[in-house]
Each structure stands twice: as C-alpha cells, then as structure tokens.
Assembly symmetry: C2
C-alpha cells in the first residue's frame, strides 16, 4: 500500500517546535496536514513557524503540489484523525499524557492507520501500556528542525506489528526522510546516544575547567563537525587508516583506545568487534576505494566551506575566531 502524495493526509497531534516542524515538512512535501493542539496560541505559533520555515523549504525545492494552504486546524483530536493516512504525535514529553493520547488515537483511527510518536525519551512499549490496540503504535523520532534535518528513527515496541513499522518507514521515505529502522527498543535510540556522549563529555570539560563553552563549540564547528556533515565517525576513521582503512586503524591505533582521552571507558577491542567495524566500513564504502572516499570528502568539504562562507558573508556563522 504505497503512499500517494496527491491524496496523502497526515495528522499532526501537538504543534510545538517539533510537531510544528513536522507540519512544515509534510506541507513542503505536498501532503495535506491537519493539526490538533489544545494550546490557545497553537495556531498562531504554527503560522509564525511556517512563515519562518517556508522560504527555506522553497529554496530546497517544494513538491509540485505543496502549499501552506493545505494546512488545516481541527477542533478536536477526533476530528483531526477522522480521515488521515498517518498520525504524527508530538505532545509534550510527559509519560501519562502520551499514554492517554496514544490510547485515544488508537481508538479514533481505523485499523490500518499507523500512529508514530516523536518521543525522544520513552519506549513505545511503556507509552502503549493503556492502549487496547497497540499494534499500530511506533516511534518516529525526528531531529530538530524536522523540516531540515533528514533523520528519523523508527522502532516498534513489544506489541507493535511488523507491518506497522514497515508502513511507517515507507511513509517517511515517501516524505523524503532518511530512515533508520531499529531492530529493538534502545533508550536514546542511536542519534541521541551518540549526541549525548559528546554532550556529557562537554559538560564534564566545563565542570573541570578544561574548556569553555565557546572553545567546545569552536572545536566541533571548525573541526570534526565539518567532516560529520559528510561522513560519520566510522567512515571518518576508515580514512584515518590510510590505504589500509579501518582494519589498519584498529590494528595500529587500537591500543590508544586505552588512553584516558575521555571519561567514557572504551570497550574491549575483541576480534569480533574489530571485524564488525571493518566489515561495516567495507559494506558502507561499497565499491569506493579509500582514494575515492578521500576525493569525495574533499569535494564535500569544499562545498560545505563555500556554503558556510557565503552564509557568513550574510552575517551567519556560529563561532568567532579566538586566539
């Protein structure tokens, strides 16, 4: 059952920063969007968000049929989900609120509509506790702002059915997202776990007087952050191994994992872990040689640096040079 953008209709339940960002994204991709949010200023806030986001979305390219006029507001949850193909729940991060809301959403929607929660903190298993039919409940966790950051992490809970997880993935792909499907529930999913590791190290460094907030941000923005917009930490280190790639990296620099470089203790570099890293990089690199990847990285970095420089000339850029 593929999603048809011409007739696709999505309900956004909750229209704060995340829910409103989802609404902007779905509108730009040519969906009808119906919003329900009990906050008295919800409509005003969403219209302001849309006004801010739309020029960016136009610049990136709207779907042919996209229009902010395809946004509507429902007076009740029941009305919002009366005739939609997909529900995106982005209520405040309070467990009992989400439990109540998801139970109501499951009751008010037909048995083929998938309900995805934007939660960043709860598992769908615990959020679905009060829901009679939990088969269609999944997590669809975005990054902020959902209309510009492609990632969405999809995972089902103990009672979610496979077809619902697959349908959520198909829907998000049709909506132009970069989808990661997790095989099992994991606190923090993948992106937040990685992001949180860096955030906790940053907090430790400030607490210990080892670096300032500004130095931490400058170190990332002018350093590894530039590479990470292009290649993740694994492929980045695949290149650090020269022609030998990740295998050379781990075999020669593995011992330095034991250096006290961060507060996070390194795992034992077992042969199984070593091979998983090497095979993962080989698979990700596909037919690209190290030389291909280096050229690709450099081409990408030049493009990013030029884009940032153009932005800076217009008054942008987060960090200043400090001596």
């Amino acid at each position: 059952m593929p999603f048809d953008k011409q007739t696709g209709r999505v309900a956004c339940i909750g229209a704060g920063v995340i829910g409103g960002g989802w609404a902007a994204h779905f509108l730009a991709k040519g969906f009808d969007v119906v919003v329900w949010d009990p906050h008295p200023d919800a409509e005003g806030a969403l219209r302001r968000l849309l006004k801010l986001a739309w020029p960016a979305l136009e610049e990136l390219g709207l779907a042919a049929e996209a229009s902010p006029d395809r946004l509507s507001f429902a007076a009740s949850l029941k009305e919002a989900v009366a005739a939609v193909d997909f529900v995106q729940e982005s209520a405040p991060e309070r467990l009992e609120l989400k439990q109540r809301l998801l139970a109501e959403l499951a009751t008010e929607t037909p048995a083929n509509v998938v309900i995805a929660s934007s939660t960043s903190g709860f598992s769908i298993t615990e959020m679905a506790r009060s829901t009679h039919d939990a088969s269609r409940l999944v997590v669809g966790h975005p990054f902020n702002p959902p209309y510009l950051i492609p990632l969405v992490e999809v995972v089902g809970g103990e009672r979610s059915e496979t077809w619902a997880v697959e349908r959520a993935c198909a829907f998000y792909q049709a909506a132009g997202k970069s989808v990661i499907r997790l095989e099992r529930e994991l606190p923090g999913f993948i992106g937040n776990r990685l992001q949180d590791a860096i955030w906790r190290e940053a907090l430790h460094m400030v607490a210990a007087g080892e670096a300032t907030v500004e130095q931490i941000d400058q170190a990332i923005v002018d350093g590894p952050g530039l590479r990470w917009a292009l290649m993740g930490p694994c492929l980045t280190f695949h290149l650090a191994g020269g022609e030998g790639g990740m295998a050379h990296m781990l075999d020669h620099f593995g011992p330095s994992l034991k250096e006290p470089w961060t507060r996070l203790e390194a795992p034992e570099l077992t042969p199984a872990l070593r091979n998983a890293m090497v095979e993962g990089c080989t698979q990700e690199a596909a037919s690209r040689t190290i030389g291909d990847l280096v050229r690709e990285r450099d081409r990408g970095l030049v493009a990013i640096l030029k884009a940032l420089r153009a932005g800076r000339a217009g008054g942008a850029r987060a960090t200043s040079q400090t001596g």
Copy 2:
C-alpha cells in the same frame, strides 16, 4: 613581530598524511615551504597529495602569491630549518622519535623560531624532555586534512614560554586557521576528547549489537552532524531550550541527564556548572537572540544541504538511505 606572507618560510618536518596536508595548506596560503622527510618516497607521495589537494584549494581561493612551485625539499633536517620562520613537526607518533627530533630542531634553529608539533597524543612537556631549550616548543594539533579543516589547537608545556605560544597562535591565524589556545595541557586536547566520546559510544553500540556501523554513520550524517558543521553542541542545545535558551534547557531537561542514554555518566549539574553553561552560551551568542540563531541555523542548513545535494549529484555522499 607579525608574519609576512610575502617572505614567510615554513619548514614541514615529516610529510606523511598530516605533514603533507600542512605543506599543501601553507603553500595555498602563499608561504614558501621547505620539507624534510627521510622516507625514500616522501617527495613522490607529497607531490601526489598536492596534485589531489590543489584543485580543492584553488576552488576555495588561493593567496595571491600562492604556488606549488614554492615547495622545496631539503636533504637534511639542518638544511630544512636553515632559514625558516616557523617549524611544523609531523613525524610518526612515537615518543622517543619525537623527543629526538624536537631536540635536534631546537638546536638547529635560531632562538626566535617557534617549533610546533602536530602530535595528537603526547604532551609537549614529555616530548621536550631531551631538549635543552624547550622554551619555543609548542603543540599545534590540526585535524585531517589540515588544508581543509580549519581547527588547530595550540598549547604550551611546562617549559614553553608565553611568547612562543602567542607567536604560534599569530602564525596560524595569519595562515588562515581557526585557533584554540588551551590554557593547560590536557590529554586529547578538546576536539579529540569530544570526538573520542562519540567514537567510544559507537564502538560500544556495535559491540553490543545495538547499531550497525552504517546506522551509526547515517545517524550522524543525516542528523546532528549537519547541525554541528554550523553550531557546536552547546549552542545547538541553547536553541533546544526555545526562547529560554540554555537556562531553560538545563533547568527543565537537566534531570534527563540521569537517563541511561549513553555509557558516559553525566556530571552533577551543580549551580556552578549550570551557570557556566548559561553564561558561555550567552557570551557565544553575543547580541544574537534565539530567533536570530534559529534563522542563522536554518539558512546554514539550507546552504549545507544544497551543497551536499550538488555533491551527491556528482557521485558523492557517504551514506545511502536504508529502511
């Protein structure tokens, strides 16, 4: 004593991936570069690296007087540093080798020449043990490739003099780098500490079967990595707090620091740490409101996404979409 690019002459001692990358950078910035590397294929390898890097450097804009012809090779270390203003040492990461090399460099250079080591692992204090005059030895730690990633971390050791650290900072700034000056020696400096936190979490996740290499890279590249090319983790979370910024973020989401989201234990969120984070963000944001920063972020993300998309059309992009 400001650096004059018209007459500036830099010695690169060691011309592997990092030393050769430094040579490419200094050449593009209009310096004369003299290289010494005892490896029999050093000159060939550096010429290949330059051939690969030069088009990228041309595209970013060369200094008026820049030319690959301003590269020369010395037959000995002594000859290489005979008449230079600055020495960049990028020998293999072996302590006794670096100790011997830095001692020789200090002997062979006049008392006003600063010698910077590219080391990522050793402190200048331990590397300077065998050096009679350690006053001019500093760390100048780049990120790979040094000709595209702006960051350089500068720090002195126990015997380094302040003027040498300041002169290294001034030199790197004249050479177009983004300089972070650390107040004290710190294993891993700042960038590698942060990068290592994410790398160790990634290794743990693969070891535990929680994520694949490809999922980890996709999560970063299509998620927080895009933001980090623009704004570091602190300013990113400053925006996550809405109009209340970092203060709201920490006061309301602080408790979630105790969630078991990564293997790295969070520090106690003391009032002092809370205030350091808030004041750091306020200082970094300078006169920019949250609204200004959101607009800046979105403008930057659009530029980066367009740049990456253009690259992808040409065959680039590190990750594929997976469902």
